[in-house]
Symmetry: C2
């Protein structure tokens, strides 16, 4: 496949573009991570989300250690090319390393961030 | 109100945090923009989305010129504090400067990005 599509993506000065994963069934936003060119190319080829870990500075096939892979059914690009949105089927129903469905589990209320979503699985059991 | 909640937000080296606006009624992701401390504080105070424009390097009350304001009903913060998600009521049903509902109007298909969403209003009419 031609990689012309990569030219439409505005990778930043670190060679990265933001990628949101949205649950294809519920519409819930699960997480945001980053992709470099190789991560996007691999995501398309594999049909599962592959990000670039900024902390580990390497490709990160989401779920490689937890089993919580993300099957990708659609990828969208925004108007200025610096945001990707993935429609995903989240294996295990858990996207967050804390064992929650979504990384967005804190709601602003009464002047502070309040945790409103339950831990579905103990992280120690996820990564053991 | 105490600004303790700002300490939980991991603003990057430019003092910014990514913010996604999601349509509260449909779940559709409308756009991503950036906020600095003042933008987040004003968003909370005003109940409408206020971002920080990186290109213009100033606060940007979304809709100030287009009328397409975003009434905010919920703000969430992710696990590592570097992503905000706003549930919004999008005035005019148009978030994108191209006159489309969402900035994410291009879908990856057959090796390229294909525009799949209609222009609802001519941008020249929006910004005139």
């Amino acid at each position: 496949m031609s990689d012309t599509y990569l030219k439409d993506v505005n990778f930043n000065s670190d060679g990265l573009v933001a990628a949101i994963a949205q649950d294809a069934a519920t519409g819930r936003i699960l997480m945001m991570a980053w992709m470099n060119r190789e991560a996007l190319t691999r995501t398309i080829a594999l049909g599962e989300a592959v990000y670039f870990s900024r902390s580990r500075q390497k490709l990160w096939h989401k779920g490689e250690s937890s089993g919580h892979t993300q099957k990708v059914s659609e990828i969208r690009l925004d108007c200025d090319g610096d945001l990707l949105c993935l429609q995903v089927d989240q294996a295990g129903g858990i996207a967050c390393h804390t064992g929650r469905e979504s990384c967005l589990y804190r709601v602003f209320k009464d002047g502070q961030w309040q945790t409103v979503d339950p831990v579905l699985k103990n992280p120690e059991d996820i990564y053991s």
